[in-house]
């Protein structure tokens, strides 16, 4: 997760670089450190540095890291020629390197020759069976081909070894949700909440999944998680506010108003929603009010 200072620094550098203010190298280093995906900007500014021999030699040994970064950005933007040139340069310098091998395999993947890329990745993994990045690329490739079940299988194998990689768990959860395998998705989100309990995003996603599975107990659980999201975001998360109202009305529907459900919170959530809508999109306020009224009536 990017911290606030880093984010503001990034914005500032981006503006500076876009307006030809120099500082391209710092921008690129920051992007590399934070592992962000700004491929078009990286490509543009990286190429300006690389094509200028003076600036290139000023970089020293970091030149090769820049080549790698620009190659990956070029692959992302489908400028395969640029990528091929960068990879050739790197190959000349580091003939037997695993990192360059990985770049070559990524080039094959970008071209669309899936079978060859698969072969390249497998051979790289044979030498080094515990390389996280290559395993992840295999998953990404399976997903790109549309082979979702294969992606799930690879991702599960990956997670068997690298259990603490929360990005992988998140990816798996999203894949399960796309396949409507909600129980498994709930499990993945639970893992995420366990590893980082204070991130409201995971609570929210978990609540969504639990609400979708349905059933009285699950609805009550979902309501609790929407409430925790509200608390973690200071009451500003619109989706959580809606979630609370929906949960309350669904629970009321299921129990036919029999139990002494705490309706206060949904009232508060509805009021907060109306306030938000008044501020940001007053034209939709009437729509909101009628929706909320219908929820309560049910």
């Amino acid at each position: 997760m990017v911290s606030k200072t880093e984010e503001s620094q990034l914005q500032q550098l981006e503006n500076q670089v876009e307006n030809r203010g120099g500082g391209a190298w710092e921008y690129l280093s920051l992007v590399r450190k934070l592992k962000l995906r700004r491929s078009d900007k990286v490509l543009k500014h990286g190429l300006t540095i690389l094509n200028d021999p003076k600036k290139r030699s000023a970089l020293g040994p970091d030149e090769w890291t820049l080549y790698e970064q620009v190659a990956i950005a070029a692959l992302d933007c489908q400028c395969l020629e640029v990528a091929k040139d960068c990879i050739k340069v790197l190959q000349k310098k580091f003939p037997d390197s695993k990192r360059v091998g990985r770049l070559e395999a990524m080039l094959l993947e970008a071209k669309g020759s899936w079978a060859e890329a698969e072969k390249a990745y497998s051979s790289l993994l044979e030498d080094n069976p515990l390389d996280q990045v290559i395993s992840m690329r295999r998953v990404a490739m399976a997903k790109a081909r549309g082979d979702i079940l294969g992606a799930i299988e690879w991702l599960n194998k990956y997670l068997e070894i690298f259990m603490a990689d929360h990005d992988a768990w998140r990816e798996l959860a999203e894949i399960y949700v796309s396949l409507q395998m909600y129980k498994q998705a709930a499990f993945c989100y639970e893992e995420l909440i366990l590893s980082q309990p204070m991130i409201p995003l995971y609570h929210l996603a978990y609540a969504d999944v639990i609400y979708t599975i349905g059933g009285l107990e699950n609805l009550q659980t979902a309501k609790k998680y929407y409430a925790s999201t509200i608390e973690l975001t200071g009451g500003k998360n619109t989706r959580a506010l809606f979630g609370i109202c929906l949960c309350t009305s669904a629970i009321a529907q299921l129990t036919k108003g029999r139990n002494n459900e705490d309706k206060e919170i949904s009232g508060l959530a509805a009021a907060a929603l109306e306030k938000d809508y008044k501020q940001s999109s007053p034209s939709k306020l009437s729509l909101l009010s009628s929706t909320l009224r219908s929820l309560k009536i049910q």
């Binding site: 068997e160 259990m163 603490a164 309990p197 409430a227 608390e231 200071g234």
Partner: protein, 246 residues
């Protein structure tokens, strides 16, 4: 008996400072040599798996109160189940890591290399110090010491009446040995091979890491009581919303 011995400034110029400089240089040299000699360790998949498992189990223990009771119980059983739980290590297997460590040629070579790079320079420097810088008083320690330290700190000085605060070159060597660690972490960055004391502490607790910590995690998990905090969150959320609306 507090007689103030006047120590020649030549001692400072020719003993204390050169010794420190030599030790710094040797440290830097060792750092670069170790960098060159370091073979990339092929991480063993079993060890990685166990390490990640420990992280995951620890997360479970730490944040257990955030997930629903059913989910927690399911996970607890999954981890600590007697037959095929993840954390369960049967007694026999516990001894393996250490035996493995000595039989595995790679790891043994690695340890030997690390030991060598640590012991050889230390021994050489120590011998050099003893040869050149013994037999005279080198420095005065600013605080008084008991008589017990005499044998350690005053090796070349055969006068028993000299105050124990006056020490020989050997003690300056030891002082430098432990004190320059801080300096090295400034010059060479955080990771440097000169961290002898740390390495010594590490070596004592080496092979037992996986199985013992797995057992420890299992015990920890068995103890944890699940106290679901989410209901409290619901009330807190109400308070937050109320504050927002007011």
């Amino acid at each position: 008996m507090a007689e103030d011995l006047m120590l020649d400034t030549a001692i400072r110029d020719w003993v204390l400072i050169p010794l420190s400089i030599v030790m710094v240089l040797i440290g830097v040299l060792r750092y670069f040599v170790s960098k060159l000699m370091r073979t990339s360790q092929l991480p063993d998949s079993k060890i990685i798996k166990e390490g990640q498992l420990i992280i995951r189990a620890r997360n479970l223990r730490a944040a257990a109160n955030f997930i629903p009771p059913k989910a927690f119980r399911a996970r607890k059983v999954y981890y600590t189940n007697e037959e095929n739980g993840l954390l369960y290590v049967p007694k026999g297997q516990g001894q393996n890591p250490q035996a493995q460590m000595f039989s595995d040629p790679n790891m043994a070579m690695d340890m030997m290399k690390k030991n060598l790079s640590m012991i050889v320079p230390q021994t050489l420097t120590f011998a050099w110090v003893n040869f050149f810088f013994s037999g005279f008083v080198a420095a005065k320690i600013p605080f008084p010491l008991t008589q017990r330290f005499r044998s350690m700190l005053q090796n070349g000085i055969d006068l028993s009446t000299v105050d124990v605060s006056y020490v020989s070159g050997r003690s300056w060597y030891f002082l430098n040995l432990f004190g320059l660690r801080g300096l090295f972490s400034l010059i060479l960055g955080e990771e440097n091979a000169t961290d002898d004391t740390q390495r010594m502490m590490q070596m004592s607790g080496f092979g037992f890491d996986p199985s013992k910590s797995l057992g420890a995690e299992k015990d920890g998990l068995d103890i944890v009581q699940h106290d679901w905090v989410l209901p409290k969150f619901e009330q807190r959320a109400e308070a937050v919303l109320r504050k927002r609306l007011s």
